[in-house]
Symmetry: C2
Subunit: 367 residues, 2 copies
């Protein structure tokens, strides 16, 4: 039988982490944020039009709660019409009855669903202005939230939804001196990496800064080149991980979170794993393993071994062509679904549920 979860890293560390979470009850958190960076033409797939990227995170989490979006019609789609990975996330969470909370690091569009506010504001365009107003404030609020949550769940799975997030992750990591410019992923099938690097380099020039200027200074890196999701995500993870395991659920953006944790609280790293999808690992242009090796080599990577090639709908089969790949914590949610069910829920169960949900939402849209 095909493995449900692909494992990368030290075998003992992986087994140790899996043992801590298998059969246990997780809480899923989706951290949302907005950044003007997403509006640089061509940079993000999260939202068919650049003006609409502000709505994507709110719509994603509304979908997680209600099975439909409230702030926009239909569900978020890429310019090519591929639906949000939130579809995967919701199907996995619903199948395993996993509860979910929404946390805002700073947004322009507020979700029409209950969300935890950390006092942050939406971020600026890293190519020309400051990225995040007060990352330490967001981080501190997030940390105390994480600590509180650690008392009432067995482990956390923390995903994200922020259009432009791979660009700000890249900017943040480059400013910290990590050489990852050829390793970061994109929600687009053809990664606009040159555009990302040009935007970051413009920003460096405008702010009279250079790559590596913020070595060991994650808050400075966030302030100038990151996004408001990052301090919220890292804060929750650090606040919780001193007591319970935490899965950072996402693609290469999670290495930016790892970089923050690695500087601020390396002692909690043994309670941390990255949870992602096979599509991220399969992408020739992405090197998640390589960035983790550079940033924090001991952290294991788990990847949901999802296959969409037999899906009935082309919008879903497109994931096999490298579209979208990950987001809204999809990979981590699938991993948590499988492990919390003690392997009772199969990948086929999850795929069937995604297919059914896709049918429902596309029907809804037509009405």
């Amino acid at each position: 039988m095909m493995k449900k979860i692909i494992e990368i890293g030290n075998e003992d560390k992986i087994n140790n982490f899996r043992l801590k979470i298998e059969g246990k009850k997780p809480l899923f958190i989706c951290v949302i944020g907005n950044t003007e960076t997403a509006k640089i033409p061509g940079i993000s797939a999260a939202g068919a039009k650049s003006e609409i990227t502000d709505y994507t995170p709110a719509a994603d989490v509304e979908y997680l709660y209600y099975g439909k979006c409230k702030c926009l019609e239909g569900v978020p789609i890429t310019p090519e019409g591929i639906p949000t990975p939130g579809l995967i996330t919701k199907a996995a969470l619903d199948l395993a009855n996993i509860p979910r909370l929404i946390v805002s690091g700073g947004v322009n569009v507020f979700p029409q669903a209950p969300y935890i506010d950390l006092g942050g504001e939406a971020g600026g365009d890293i190519s020309k202005e400051k990225a995040v107003k007060d990352p330490i404030k967001i981080f501190k609020n997030a940390k105390i939230l994480g600590k509180n949550l650690s008392f009432f769940t067995d482990y956390l799975v923390i995903g994200e939804s922020i259009a432009g997030g791979t660009t700000t992750a890249l900017g943040m990591l480059l400013s910290m001196g990590y050489d990852v410019s050829d390793k970061i992923s994109s929600s687009l099938a053809i990664n606009p990496i040159q555009l990302k690097l040009e935007s970051i380099d413009s920003g460096m020039k405008a702010k009279k800064l250079s790559r590596g200027d913020f070595k060991n200074e994650p808050f400075k890196a966030i302030e100038f080149f990151g996004d408001p999701m990052q301090p919220a995500h890292a804060g929750i993870a650090i606040g919780a991980a001193s007591r319970i395991p935490v899965i950072l659920a996402g693609g290469t953006q999670m290495t930016a979170i790892l970089a923050i944790i690695n500087i601020l609280n390396p002692e909690v790293l043994e309670n941390i794993a990255i949870g992602t999808t096979r599509w991220i690992l399969n992408d020739q242009k992405t090197d998640l393993e390589g960035i983790v090796a550079e940033v924090s080599p001991k952290v294991p990577i788990l990847a949901a071994n999802l296959f969409f090639d037999e899906m009935r709908f082309p919008g879903l089969r497109a994931y096999e062509n490298g579209m979208v790949k990950e987001g809204v914590g999809a990979g981590g949610a699938v991993i948590a679904c499988v492990l919390s069910s003690k392997n009772q829920i199969s990948m086929i169960d999850i795929c069937k549920r995604i297919e059914k949900d896709y049918e429902t939402i596309t029907t809804l849209k037509q009405v």
Copy 2:
């Protein structure tokens, strides 16, 4: 030995409820709100000056998280200098390691701590204007939050902090036709009941409404005479109580919540109890038992049997003179502390901790 918890109601129902929660792990929630009603001169003790009442809820929950307030110096006090019951709440929660979440129904002053936003706005002065803009929206968001929370805690204890809240509870109940004008409590030692009734009657006149006009219509009652805490509180309770027990933690304000639940989802009432303090039961001018008998007679009342007469500080001994009495879910927090510790934590432990915390904050203030 003196009973730690006073019980009122049907013995079987009480035993049944206690059995469901004894030794189990609770989550404490404080629902905050602001209403212009609190600024009617003389109506509220929550905040030494009427202009400052907007700050009281934010300050209360900041204290629960940090042991000090951020939006104001010191801690909230009454006009007579008596400290917030949040002192009791925090001591009880800390002793039993009970996690806490903050939920905003609608405020003017946002806490500098993580809080869950339900999309509500601060409320109007019930003596002259609409009380709550969109109670159904707040309620719906709260209900889905409550449902989610029910998956990761054994039971909920839901307190409140809203200056002016006993007046809006009275207004809301009167507009629903409950004859409770001589039964509602106050945070002031001398209950300004005439002032409350005059304010409500002015409001009835201004809005061309009469007592009882909103029989069986809790949302209308909230919209015209309630406050934004109410739909948030009731929504969380209803969302959670179909799966887990819920303690409505407060004084007579909780009967307004009970009235909402009783109309909308009476089937969950068997999972509901009121948690309060001895000081509320002892108040000759308050008849909590009487209102519960009128609104929803089957719901048991538990009361923390706290005695402050041997406290070292006059500010705390004042509770024995009927000052403050309850708030920030103090009674419910003490009950949860005692029961979750399987009676290992005594009332003396709790009182000593309150005394110690009081000393710390008064020292902090002087610095």
